[in-house]
């Protein structure tokens, strides 16, 4: 039995004369991990900006738990495409940011974050400034900052996009484990096909700008996926299929 959490109905947005999202309809069930795959510049981050309220859609409707999103507090914990860690805050204080904004005292917020540091591989680095951390650690800190807010749903915008291939694979395996343990509801934006297949219950594929949803794929592979050789082989077939869809888009000049 799954419960509908997020529902996007015919979302469209243009920046000036440029139509970015044309017609986006999608759903996310409670406890489901859904990915959005699409070419660069398709408008994936823009979709998240609409969800978090940084941009408003021209038309269409967003419902969360059945009610229009505009009538409630934003239910999302958002992780932006670049980690957006504040260079002037120590790692621990970056991680407590969301809690402090919610009105928790710095002390309580730190007490709440501290036990999670180990799971996120940040022990011993909580007093460091972000500049002293590796890319992978920064991403984990940004993810910790996101999940510790305990919002009903996670929005992850290419969380591992800036990492090298090896670190990225490690982080994906790590996220998969975290996912098993925490049963979050999440919407992930990525252009890494493998990442989408390994982590998602369902994948939506976006067309190039103006973006529409061209395909929806359910991934019925058992979990954990990354550690299992046989599952990785099956996943490879799905990946190839998805790549075909992505390659079928015409090469279009970017402005």
């Amino acid at each position: 039995m799954s419960v509908l959490r997020l529902e996007l109905d015919a979302i469209a947005i243009a920046y000036g004369a440029m139509q970015v999202l044309e017609d986006i309809s999608l759903t996310v069930q409670s406890g489901e991990f859904v990915s959005i795959l699409g070419p660069s510049g398709a408008g994936k981050s823009t979709l998240f900006r609409i969800l978090t309220g940084a941009a408003s859609s021209q038309s269409g409707e967003i419902r969360f738990d059945g009610r229009p999103i505009s009538t409630q507090d934003r239910p999302f914990a958002f992780m932006p495409q670049r980690d957006a860690l504040m260079p002037w805050r120590r790692i621990i204080d970056n991680c407590t940011l969301g809690l402090e904004v919610q009105g928790m005292s710095r002390r309580d917020a730190r007490a709440k974050v501290a036990p999670l540091l180990a799971e996120f591989g940040l022990v011993g680095f909580e007093r460091h400034y972000p500049a002293a951390l590796s890319g992978g650690m920064r991403q984990r800190a940004a993810l910790l900052r996101t999940v510790v807010q305990e919002r009903p749903m996670l929005l992850l915008d290419e969380p591992f996009g800036a990492l090298d291939a090896l670190t990225r694979s490690r982080m994906q395996a790590w996220l998969e484990t975290m996912w098993e343990n925490h049963s979050w509801t999440a919407l992930l934006v990525t252009h890494d096909v493998r990442e989408a297949v390994m982590l998602s219950d369902r994948i939506y594929i976006l067309s190039p700008r103006p973006a529409r949803i061209v395909r929806e794929i359910s991934i019925d592979l058992p979990r954990p996926r990354l550690a299992d050789h046989a599952i990785r082989a099956k996943a490879a077939a799905i990946e190839a299929d998805i790549l075909d869809t992505l390659f079928s888009f015409q090469e279009e000049p970017t402005p």
């Binding site: 940084a54 958002f78 957006a84 904004v101 919610q102 400034y129």
Partner: protein, 268 residues
């Protein structure tokens, strides 16, 4: 390589000296050339005194120089302090209200086009020979660079950080305090370093236009007595004063922005 090994072994002080060696060398070279020129050309001391003369006179007149440095320092710090407070307050107003920004900025820019030569005597005429006109003139020359530094600093805030805060439900005030203000700090300190040099020059200029004491009036008196050595001695003191204030801003930046100091990795 040899330099590397040495600097690792050396104390912090000697490492600082190493790093500033080129600057020290350049200054020394200028003084040596100047000294050599004065001695070899036989130019009269009333036209161009040698640097050794200047230093000697500065030492002989150290009491008078010190007495005149204090008012200049006071005017510089008070004027600069006022200008900082006003610039900070206005930067916030202007950051929150684009309308006020459009209304006020042309006025501020116009204030920068006023020639100091004309303004200084007027301000002295209006406010007398005391500290107030100096404070006003120092504030006038330093206010705008500081305001611009702050406003540009706010604008340099990473968009993603602000959107992140917004997604967390942060209010405008919270966004300003947690994101825009810290983002502006590097710009603020860049502005501070430039303005502090203007401030000293501004204070001396104001004194030149009329004062009871101060380096400006000292320079004026020395000039009228045909004592270029004393003029240059006062210039030397004002340069040292500026350098000291410049150094203070760098020190302050280290303290206020520990995350940006080069030692951040080893000193968490």
């Amino acid at each position: 390589m040899a330099f590397d090994a040495q600097s690792r072994r050396g104390t912090p002080l000697s490492r600082h000296v190493c790093r500033h060696l080129p600057a020290i060398g350049a200054i020394a070279a200028i003084f040596v050339l100047w000294e050599a020129y004065v001695r070899l050309s036989g130019i009269s001391a009333t036209a161009l005194p040698s640097p050794s003369d200047v230093v000697e006179q500065a030492w002989i007149n150290r009491d008078a120089l010190w007495r005149n440095t204090l008012p200049t320092l006071a005017a510089t710090l008070a004027g600069f302090g006022c200008s900082l407070i006003v610039a900070f307050a206005l930067s916030i107003v202007v950051d929150f209200s684009p309308l006020l920004r459009r209304a006020l900025f042309p006025v501020f820019i116009a204030s920068q086009t006023l020639p100091l030569v004309a303004i200084a005597p007027l301000v002295v005429l209006w406010f007398g020979f005391g500290l107030l006109p100096k404070i006003l003139l120092v504030a006038l020359v330093t206010f705008f660079p500081m305001l611009v530094a702050l406003v540009e600093g706010y604008a340099a805030t990473e968009r993603e950080i602000e959107e992140l805060l917004a997604s967390m439900g942060a209010s405008g005030t919270r966004r300003f305090v947690t994101a825009r203000l810290p983002s502006a700090l590097p710009y603020f300190f860049a502005g501070l370093r430039i303005s502090v040099t203007y401030a000293v020059v501004g204070a001396i200029f104001a004194e030149y236009a009329g004062a009871v004491s101060g380096l400006g009036i000292y320079i004026l008196t020395a000039k009228n007595n045909f004592r270029p050595d004393l003029v240059l001695a006062a210039v030397l003191v004002s340069s040292l004063l500026t350098l000291a204030l410049f150094g203070a801003t760098i020190l302050l930046q280290r303290i206020v922005m520990p995350w940006a100091s080069p030692a951040k990795e080893i000193r968490p």
